[in-house]
């Protein structure tokens, strides 16, 4: 069992949890994730480690209510326990000092890009960040991102905050005025695909943190398989970060939707039981 030490609702859809996991906190590196189960018979879901505190022995995860399990999770309160968490999983991001790094986070992906941006900043790189959400209320981690970025650009689809439009629009404008050495992005697959299409012709190295479905998270099942440069890769052990120019995003997007019908069915069942 894993204790929730702290819970904070970031907006109506998104919740932050600080979990009592000293051993995972001791080992966690930027870009890694955990597999979490809310209750004993629960699904195993991957969540990026958004933050970790080795002294306090805690890790932070941020979950957006999307399916049945994240809804169940959102009902757990501080002081309560989760059935289990395993990790830290996946390969950490190899952090070198890079001249100018651009970190782009979309939606709940901002929480995933944050530890990467922070690590690049700590390594002495110049970090520029773009964060975007559908609307102002859904924008998370603004202050955290501001602290680790030399320049922070914000977009909302509806223009309720920052620039109106997508992070991709903002990226195009930014690239006209600044030379970027490396782009790192986490967010909806379609957003990462859009970013890859913009940076590809400019030959800017671009890495994307992918978020396919997973079960075990240790390379045992292959549920998270994706195509990178035409080769089959398991995101859980080979990634989750890959050269965005080589990722088959169409395939990733289709595979993410595999259980949409079942998710609906389960949510309906939960709503009936409420």
């Amino acid at each position: 069992m894993v204790k929730i030490l702290h819970k904070k609702r970031l907006n109506r859809k998104t919740t932050l949890y600080e979990l009592d996991l000293p051993e995972i906190a001791a080992r966690a590196e930027p870009g890694q994730f955990v597999i979490l189960r809310v209750d004993a018979d629960g699904e195993r879901i991957p969540l990026t480690i958004a933050d970790f505190d080795r002294n306090k022995g805690t890790i932070t995860v941020v979950a957006q209510e999307a399916g049945a399990t994240t809804r169940l999770l959102s009902r757990k309160e501080a002081g309560e326990e989760l059935a289990g968490v395993s990790g830290p999983l996946g390969k950490p991001v190899d952090i070198d000092r890079i001249n100018k790094v651009l970190c782009i986070g979309g939606g709940v992906g901002i929480a995933c890009i944050y530890p990467v941006a922070r690590a690049y900043n700590d390594a002495g790189s110049e970090v520029i960040s773009i964060i975007g959400a559908r609307t102002k209320e859904l924008l998370i981690f603004e202050n955290r991102m501001r602290k680790v970025s030399k320049e922070l650009l914000i977009t909302t689809d509806d223009g309720s905050y920052g620039e109106k439009g997508f992070v991709t629009d903002c990226l195009k404008r930014l690239l006209r005025r600044i030379k970027i050495d490396l782009v790192f992005t986490v967010g909806p697959a379609i957003m990462m695909q859009g970013i890859a299409e913009i940076t590809r012709p400019l030959s800017i190295e671009t890495w994307a943190g992918l978020n396919p479905l997973m079960v075990d998270g240790t390379g045992m099942c292959g549920a998270c398989r994706i195509s990178v440069d035409g080769k089959m890769k398991f995101a859980c052990v080979d990634g989750p970060h890959f050269n965005a120019h080589l990722v088959d995003f169409e395939e990733l997007i289709a595979r993410q939707k595999m259980y949409q019908k079942e998710e609906k069915q389960r949510i309906e069942m939960m709503s009936k039981n409420d």
């Binding site: 069992m1 894993v2 996991l21 000293p22 051993e23 995972i24 080992r27 189960r37 018979d41 629960g42 699904e43 195993r44 049945a68 399990t69 169940l72 059935a83 289990g84 968490v85 395993s86 990790g87 830290p88 999983l89 079960v215 075990d216 998270g217 240790t218 390379g219 045992m220 099942c221 292959g222 549920a223 398989r225 994706i226 195509s227 089959m232 052990v237 395939e251 289709a254 595979r255 595999m258 259980y259 079942e262 998710e263 069915q265 389960r266 069942m269």
Partner: protein
């Protein structure tokens, strides 16, 4: 001799038409009368050929004699001496290739049903033995690792057949054992792989509870190689490490369409159903997609388990697509028969070459080519050769790839001084020693996919080698400050040379 005792006692089964609608165990097991009648058939051969056929060396005639005399507790004790998982082995061991093959009666009529008798005794013990009423500590999860309880402690990585066996053997020798399991439930392939209808999970849980009664501690949700390294385990005070992580990396065929929606590795398919209980969806949270027409690629036990699981999930037509013929199938004959009874359709000499999807990337069909058998290959089986131009298409909605597994590099990759072979399997000597001091390994991670009992046999040998290793440390003075009673003195057996123990 009357014919009643010369004929092998049949094991009652759920009728096929009934069992394809449930996940309950297919074989129902002997009752006392059948067990005793079967036991009485045993000739009690003085040279015990059956024992030589058993990878863990159970004294088979002795336990059968106790059954014939209705002393089931004594029979159970004999089994437990050599086998810490008898209820599992009685169900999933390929006895027809091992003990029963060497049975004297096999040459004359039918061999003794040793597997059924083993299962009978183990189940009798699980149900009746008062020792199993003892309350035991539950599986512990996520407690920070204690500074090890005894200075003579061993870490076991993986809780499948090899890990459980080595843990049981070492615990009996007085060692303090901690098993680290990556998943949230212990049992390895017994839990995530072998289906409920062949090996009820309650049986696996009971066997694990028995180990816990021997003070084996199991820590779940612990991915060694990530949360801790092997060197880290030594720093925490473990004197030896046993690596029993299995060969869990699913193989794919490398053909077009393997990432389509509706294609599963057998590992994923079975894990969703067995470990995550997706057959109870939506009552449990993990879903599984099962099409009307399902094709399973492969001819081993895992392929049959997948096919039989698919039919129980409601598939209308389930095909096994196997590139060789029935004769070369690695699956157990008994399971082949069970599968046929359940209406699984076998397409032999059939090699898939492409999975075809629709516009939404769902599986629609599979294109195959017919094969013929040529000369025997390195496995001794006749090599399948494609017949040019024989391509044909089978319409399918779900494809399950069950062509085997490989070594997962997650743990070996975190210990560069642990030597692996070109396929990624850990190199060991006959006793399970690896290239790294104090580290032993066994089960599928050293030899590739094999049987439960083969893994257990390796683990038993390694347990003795670990015992000798730790004793040698102590005699060399490398281990200090432990109490002399930590290891029971009767464990100083012949193999340890009875030296320098205290």
């Amino acid at each position: 001799m009357s014919s009643r005792i010369t004929h092998r006692q049949e094991i009652p089964k759920q009728p096929p038409q009934e069992r394809i609608h449930n996940f309950k165990e297919v074989a129902l097991g002997y009752d006392e009368e059948r067990a005793v009648a079967e036991a009485k058939r045993c000739l009690q051969c003085p040279n015990k050929p059956c024992v030589r056929g058993c990878p863990v060396g159970i004294d088979i005639p002795a336990f059968i004699k106790e059954i014939a005399e209705r002393d089931f507790a004594a029979a159970a004790e004999i089994l437990r001496e050599k086998n810490s998982l008898p209820a599992v082995c009685g169900r999933v061991c390929p006895q027809e290739e091992q003990c029963e093959k060497s049975c004297t009666l096999a040459h004359k009529s039918q061999p003794i049903a040793i597997g059924c008798l083993e299962r009978f005794v183990a189940d009798w013990e699980l149900n009746k033995s008062p020792s199993h009423q003892v309350t035991r500590s539950p599986v512990k999860t996520r407690n920070p690792l204690p500074a090890t309880r005894s200075p003579l402690s061993v870490a076991v990585i993986g809780s499948g057949p090899a890990g459980l066996t080595v843990a049981g053997e070492l615990a009996k020798l007085g060692y303090s054992v901690v098993i680290f399991e990556a998943l949230h439930l212990p049992g390895g392939v017994l839990t995530y792989g072998i289906p409920e209808f062949r090996l009820p999970k309650e049986i696996v849980k009971e066997e694990i509870r028995y180990l816990q009664s021997l003070s084996v501690e199991i820590k779940t949700d612990y991915v060694i190689g990530k949360i801790e390294t092997i060197d880290g385990l030594f720093k925490r005070g473990f004197k030896a490490v046993y690596v029993a992580i299995g060969a869990g990396l699913p193989k794919f065929m490398g053909i077009d369409g393997e990432n389509l929606i509706g294609v599963y590795s057998a590992n994923e398919f079975l894990t969703r159903v067995n470990l995550m209980k997706a057959y109870l969806f939506p009552r449990v949270a993990t879903p599984i997609k099962i099409g009307r027409r399902v094709g399973v690629i492969g001819g081993g036990n895992v392929a049959l388990d997948s096919a039989r699981t698919a039919i129980r999930l409601g598939a209308e037509e389930v095909y096994i697509l196997y590139r060789r013929s029935a004769e070369e199938m690695p699956a157990r004959a008994e399971e082949f028969e069970n599968a046929r009874e359940e209406g699984i359709k076998f397409r032999f000499l059939t090699q898939p070459i492409r999975i075809i999807g629709d516009r939404k990337r769902n599986v629609r069909a599979i294109e195959c080519i017919r094969m013929k058998l040529g000369e025997p290959d390195t496995s001794g089986r006749r090599r399948p050769i494609p017949i040019v131009g024989s391509n044909f298409v089978i319409e399918l909605n779900t494809v399950i790839v069950a062509i085997g597994t490989g070594a997962n590099s997650l743990l070996p990759g975190s210990a560069p001084d642990l030597e692996v072979n070109e396929k990624g399997y850990i190199k060991v000597d006959a006793e399970g020693r690896t290239s790294k001091k104090g580290v032993f390994a066994g089960g599928d991670i050293v030899g590739g996919s094999a049987t439960v009992i083969a893994a257990m046999g390796m683990a038993k040998r390694a347990a003795l080698a670990i015992d000798r290793y730790i004793r040698s440390l102590r005699s060399a003075g490398a281990v200090r400050s432990e109490t002399s009673g930590a290891v029971r003195s009767e464990t100083s057996d012949k193999e340890s040379g009875k030296k320098n123990f205290i």
